[in-house]
Structure formats: C-alpha cells, structure tokens
C-alpha cells in the first residue's frame, strides 16, 4: 500500500482509532494484522519471505542468547546473516550476477521474479537485531508476535527508517495514550511529508524521468535542470516518505529515529552523510565500518574501509553498475576530503575566505551540493553510458541556460514540462528551503506552537489545498521502494 493513496487515507485513521480503542494487551495484534495487510497490498505471496526471515531470526536471537559458547553464538549469528543476505542475494542480486556472467557464458538462466518491496530495509533491520543480541546489547525477544511486529511495523516496513531493536522493541510493550500534542505533531509531520512527496517529488519527476530515461533526446539545459531537480526529487521523495512514516508512528505513540537533517545544507561530504539517510549510514558505520577497524587503523586501511563501505552501500541501493559507481564516487570523495583537509585549510587561510565564515559556509554548501548532485547522475541513470553522457552535458547546460525570466527558462525545457510545472516546482522548492531555514537549530519546533491559532490553521489548511490541487496523483511509487 502506498502512503500517497486513497487506501492509506482510509487505512490509517481506521487503524489509529482501533489502536486507541482497544485495550493495550491486544494492540500489538492489531498493529501486526494491519502491517500484514499493508505489506500484502503489494504482492500478497511475498509475505512468505518476511515470515521466513522472521522465523529464522526469532529463533536465531534466542539460540544466540542461550548458546553456551562464543563460538556457537557466532555460528547462529552467521546462520542468521547468511539467511538474510541469501534472501537478498536471490531476489535482488542473482540476475545482476548472472546477467554479467552471461556476457561470457550466454545461457545461464535468469529469474523472472519481482523484487519484494522493502526487502533491503527489513532485512537490515532484522540483521541489526541478531547482531545486537550477539553483542549482548539486546535481550532476545521471546514473544514471536512482538518480534514479528519489530520487523513488520507498517510505518517503516518498506522504506525505513531502519530501526535498532534497543530503540523500538521496548516501545511495543509500553501502553500508549492519546496525547493531543503528540498526535497533532504527528499529523503535521505527515502533512509535510505528503507535500514533499506529492507536490515536489512527483512534479519534478515529470521532467527528470523522461530526461534520465532518454538523455540523448534532450538538450544540455534540460539535462542540467533535470540533474538539479533530481537532487530535490530524491530528497523530497525519501524525506517525504520518512516524515509520513515517523509522523504516523508518532500518532500511534511510537518514536522512530530521524532519517534526514537538511542534507543539502551540509558543508562537506562527511557532513552530508551524517544528514542523509541517517538510519542506513549509521547501520553501515556500526555493523561494517567499525568491525573493519573504523578510524582505529592505519590511514591507508581507513581509506580502504571507507571505500568498501560506500561501495557496498551503493550496491545495497540497487543491482546495477551505476549504483556501484555512485557508491565508489562517494567513497572517493570522502577519502579525498580527508586527504586534502590540510591543503583546503591552508587554501581558505590564504584566500582570506576563512575571515568570512558566512561566505565560506555558502561556498562549502554549494560545492558539496554540486558534488552530490553530480554523483546522483549515476544513481538515477539507467546505464553508465547515459550517466557519462549526462555528466558531460550538464556543465554545458548551465552555461547555455537563460535565466532572464521564467518564460525564457521554460522555453529551453521540454514542452511537455511547461512553464506551469516550472513555476510550481520553483515555488515548492523555495517553500521547502524556507522551512529548512526555519528548522535550523530546531527554531521551528520552538516557535511554531507559540504562533496564533489562525496562522497555524491557515498553514495546515493552505498546505492541504496545495497538496490536493497542485499535487501530482499519478500513483508514482516512492523511489526507495525499489530498494
């Protein structure tokens, strides 16, 4: 079930009302049933994959905890991780590997199966459970229904945030009460999420999809604008989903971790990764980077670790060379950032920009955004050839673009996009960045509640009407659903 659907707008209030009406003891059952319905709305039979991994990891957790020796604990952990990675390997990566082997062997069979929705997310969430039990930081969950709910909790089932058991498992035992402030905060967050997804992300996709799918059919200015727009599209699509997920969980009384923190305000690539898809980047930090040695190794080993982590992170996103290259680019950028830190410090002193911190901040943000946007080309392009073509054309597009007026700008873009979409897109992005500016240092959360009711209600009412009237309702799936 998509969040941006009439079905969810009926499903969620019904579940929320029943959740608060039912006695606490039965609520987990309701949430589990609702999560099953939510997941089975896509391809019902794929719930068997979830059930398989849930059973494996439920028993693995108990056996790890009860195991007499460390060796036996490790065996159960390896078994659990193998099962989870094995499911990923079969459904997500098999065709990629076989497709590449077929260049040499030609007739190895490919699987004709759809990728189960959210596979990478709930698999990682399940793996974090068994790893934490192994590390002794989480007690094994004995109630199978509660463990199943941990994996399947519908707000974050298909696209995160990827939760840690310490953060969420205990919450399923807490009795939840209706709290006016918490519920309205959650609904407000969902509303903002719908705005980002339906008004911004899906509207920008009207331009980016055709340009990225057939870049050679479009001029350089269109390619440049598509690259910039895609940066906002993927942010709004994913952050919008996360906001709806976090908001809906908040309404029900659950606290999920934050997943985004204004990533395009980052002043460096390392800062970008502390603000983008935080649940995934911390997962890789805790379960891959640190076990590889993290920062406590030689500098060359540290570079190697970083590169491997980002390579795997890229591969997690999709079974395509473009994702691997995207991950590798970010790995290289991070390594370069570390290597060049002394040189860049000296450069900023020598140029005098260090004396102007605000200007320095603007330059750093612009450079970081540019690097990230160029890397997104590989993330979104269908082939490496397309990505390289767009990478070559995008700078030319910037030089050729006419900014004299909105009409002049629109005239260089595909006619199918049009001036109306351009105006709405620009307005929506400015609104987004305006809210981000207010969110700086959490100012918005502090002052919003103090505003007059008329202002607050006008904002909610206006935003709702903008979503309904200016939203794009073509049932576009969230980008991260495919991972």
């Amino acid at each position: 079930m998509l969040f941006n659907s009439v079905e969810f707008l009926i499903f969620f209030p019904v579940v929320a009302v029943l959740h608060f009406l039912l006695p606490h003891y039965y609520r987990w059952f309701l949430l589990l049933g609702a999560s099953c319905i939510f997941y089975m709305y896509f391809i019902p039979v794929y719930i068997l994959i979830l059930i398989f991994t849930i059973i494996i990891d439920y028993f693995a957790g108990i056996w790890i905890e009860d195991a007499a020796s460390q060796k036996l604990k490790r065996r159960f952990l390896i078994g659990s991780i193998t099962a989870n990675v094995g499911v990923l390997a079969v459904f997500k990566y098999y065709n990629f590997f076989i497709g590449n082997l077929n260049v040499a062997f030609h007739d190895l069979p490919l699987l004709k199966i759809a990728l189960p929705i959210g596979l990478s997310f709930h698999t990682f969430q399940a793996m974090s459970y068994t790893i934490e039990v192994y590390r002794g930081r989480q007690k094994a969950e004995l109630q199978p229904g509660i463990y199943a709910l941990y994996v399947m909790f519908f707000p974050q089932l298909v696209a995160g945030p990827i939760e840690r058991p310490q953060n969420i498992l205990y919450q399923f035992y807490e009795e939840k009460y209706f709290d006016y402030q918490r519920v309205t905060d959650g609904l407000r967050r969902m509303l903002w999420g719908f705005f980002q997804k339906i008004v911004i992300a899906d509207r920008l996709a009207i331009l980016t999809d055709p340009v990225f799918n057939h870049p050679r059919d479009y001029n350089a200015p269109s390619i440049f604008v598509a690259v910039v727009f895609f940066s906002f599209q993927i942010f709004c699509d994913f952050a919008g989903y996360s906001d709806i997920a976090i908001g809906s969980a908040q309404v029900l009384g659950f606290r999920l971790m934050e997943n985004f923190d204004r990533p395009y305000h980052a002043r460096s690539i390392s800062e970008f990764w502390s603000r983008w898809h935080i649940s995934l980047s911390t997962w890789f930090r805790d379960y891959l980077y640190i076990p590889l040695g993290g920062n406590r190794v030689s500098i060359q080993r540290r570079y190697f670790n970083l590169f491997i982590v980002f390579l795997i992170s890229g591969f997690w996103h999709g079974a395509n060379w473009t994702f691997l290259v995207w991950g590798a680019i970010h790995g290289c950028l991070l390594i370069f950032e570390i290597m060049s830190a002394p040189v860049r410090r000296n450069l900023s002193k020598w140029s005098g920009i260090a004396q102007a911190p605000k200007l320095k901040g603007v330059v750093e943000r612009l450079v970081t955004f540019t690097l990230v946007a160029l890397a997104w080309i590989f993330f979104r392009a269908n082939t490496l050839g397309d990505a390289l073509y767009m990478l070559q054309k995008a700078p030319h597009g910037l030089l050729e673009l006419q900014f004299s007026s909105v009409r002049a700008l629109a005239s260089q873009l595909p006619q199918s996009f049009g001036i109306k979409n351009l105006i709405i897109s620009i307005f929506a992005i400015l609104t987004l960045e305006g809210v981000h500016a207010l969110q700086k240092e959490r100012k918005i959360e502090r002052v919003w509640g103090l505003q007059p009711a008329l202002l607050r209600w006008s904002w909610y009412y206006g935003l709702t009407l903008i979503i309904v009237i200016f939203g794009v309702f073509e049932r576009r799936q969230f980008i991260y659903f495919q991972f």
Binding site: V6, W457, Y461, L465, V468, I469, E474
Partner: protein, 322 residues
C-alpha cells in the same frame, strides 16, 4: 483531549472539504464554459444553444464523416453532429436524450450505422468529458452502472476527487473561466471532427497482426434499445434515416458476420419505415484518397460523402424543402 481533538479534526476536515467543494464547483463551471473538444458539444447541449433541425448521432465515423457546414448549405437547415468516439448505441442514445431535455427536438435525425453500432462496449472511454456533468441523472447512471472501470462512488461524493488526477482539466477550466482564452486546438464546428490526414497505412499493419476474420456480436440489449429509440423518434415526430457511410472495402471482408448485420439493419429499417442509405459499396470505399484508415474517411472524403448524402436525401424526399 480526545473531544477537543475530534472537534478540531471535524472542523479542519469540514473546512477542507468545503473548500474543495467550492473549487470543484469553480472547475465544473469553467469546463461548462469551455469550447475545448467534447466540452463544446456538451455545453451547447446543456445551455440549450443547439435547437437543430437535423441531428446526427453515431460513433467516431459519424463525427468524422458528416459535415454540418455542407449539410446546412445543401439542405438549408441547422444541423449538429453528436458523433461520439469509442461508444456504442447506448451512449449515443443517452446523449440524444440529454439533448432532448434541454433543446427543441429536431425535425430530422440521421443515425450513422457501422458494424459495431450495436456491439456492447463496457469501457468508459474518454471519461473526462463527463466530469462536469455528473449531477445529470442520465450521465450519472451510465458512468456508474453502464460502463465500468473508471468512475466510482468517490468520484461522485468526495469533492474534487474526480479532478485530482486531471490537472489539464483544471487548467482548461481556469483558461475558460478566468483568462477566457480559447484553446489553441480542439475546437470543432458543430461537433464535426474531420481528420486532416491522408491514408495512414494502419490497415496493413492490422492485417498482418490479425489475418483471421473478426467476430462482432450484436447485443440483444443494444438492439432492443435501438428499436426503442426508433419508436421514441416516431412518437416525437422526428424523421430518422439510417446511414452507413463508406468504409474501406478490404476491411469489410474482415467481418465474419457482416452480411447478417447488414440484413438486420435492413430489416429494422423496413419495420420502422425509415430509409437505410448504404454507402458501403460506394466508389469511395475503393479509393484511399478519401480515407484516413479502414474505418474513417479523411476530411476530403467527408466533404465528398456529405455532398452525396445531401443530394440523396433530397432525391428521396426525406428532407422537406426549407
């Protein structure tokens, strides 16, 4: 707290739905003033602007073949073309019934016939044309029960729901109501939609993909409805003529039941004493200069055909002198 929340939620939803209802009314009103494509015809009907002497009903073959300009000039009357793309006789008759509720009945009516006239269709084609008029009981019944797949209860009862996936319609409503700018294209003269192209060779592709003959069953319901229509016209003193306009001769060989369907039309025309003018063997059927594809005449073919039809209608004294 729950009561406070519920009260505020109801108030908020009331404001939102109330506003959406207002927006929907504005969009409906805009489209009811639009001259874009099918809206032009429906708006002429609902605003009682037609009151024609001669109405043509039928499928896309009607809308493309019968030129009101030529009929008006040759027959010296006011004609209007209600041809509807993609619909069977049930919807064509419904459009006529809506017309009769808002306009004077015509003196004459041409029912454009083709092999698929009485074939039952079950899809709501080009449903956007009905959205501003869903409060009309005839349209409502057809959209909800007559043709499945597209519109459901939400479209009828949730404000603005019917338009939320139709930004182009909202834009057109804004153009028509606020900017008052006519659309750049899609304006038809009295419902006539000629094809301004030459033979497009799609028939050759069709033959390769479907070498076997096509079956087309006449629906009993559609047949009953057609006879009801003829009886209704008789009661209202509307003179009816059935006309089978030219189609590509090779396509005719593709229909397995063509002869029996043509016989059916002949029989019903005799039963109700209405002339049946059959141009399916006319020379135009053998000359692709006049055709767009196997089913439709192009603009030049439509002009020649309409001239012929007007001459023949006068010859058989179907039209009294004006």
């Amino acid at each position: 707290m729950v009561l406070k929340f519920s009260f505020k939620l109801v108030l908020y939803l009331g404001l939102v739905f109330g506003s959406l209802y207002g927006v929907q009314r504005v969009v409906d009103e805009g489209l009811r003033n639009s001259v874009y494509k099918e809206f032009q015809v429906w708006n002429d009907i609902y605003h009682s602007r037609i009151n024609a002497d001669l109405i043509i009903i039928g499928s896309s073959r009607a809308s493309a073949h019968f030129s009101p300009r030529i009929l008006d000039s040759a027959l010296r009357l006011n004609s209007y073309n209600f041809g509807m793309e993609g619909y069977d006789f049930k919807m064509q008759y419904a459009k006529l019934r809506v017309y009769l509720e808002h306009n004077q009945p015509p003196a004459y009516l041409i029912s454009s016939m083709d092999i698929y006239s009485l074939y039952k269709r079950d899809k709501l084609f080009d449903y956007e044309q009905f959205l501003p008029y869903l409060n009309d009981t005839i349209i409502q019944r057809l959209c909800r029960e007559g043709y499945g797949h597209k519109l459901n209860a939400l479209d009828f009862y949730i404000p603005f729901y019917k338009y939320y996936t139709e930004p182009a319609l909202v834009a057109e409503a804004y153009n028509a109501l606020v900017l008052k700018t006519p659309p750049a294209s899609g304006i038809y003269y009295k419902g006539f939609k000629p094809y301004n192209e030459r033979w497009n060779h799609t028939f050759e592709k069709f033959k390769k993909e479907h070498p076997e003959q096509q079956d087309q069953a006449v629906s009993n319901d559609q047949m009953d409805l057609f006879e009801t229509f003829l009886g209704d016209c008789r009661r209202r003193h509307i003179k009816v003529a059935m006309v089978y306009s030219p189609e590509f001769y090779e396509m005719q060989q593709n229909y397995s039941d063509r002869d029996s369907i043509m016989q059916l039309y002949t029989d019903v025309s005799k039963k109700y004493a209405v002339p049946f003018l059959d141009y399916s063997k006319d020379a135009m059927c053998y000359d692709t200069t006049y055709l767009l594809n196997s089913q439709h005449l192009n603009k030049w073919g439509a002009d020649v055909f309409t001239e012929k039809l007007a001459t023949d209608l006068k010859r058989i004294h179907w039209i009294n002198a004006f």
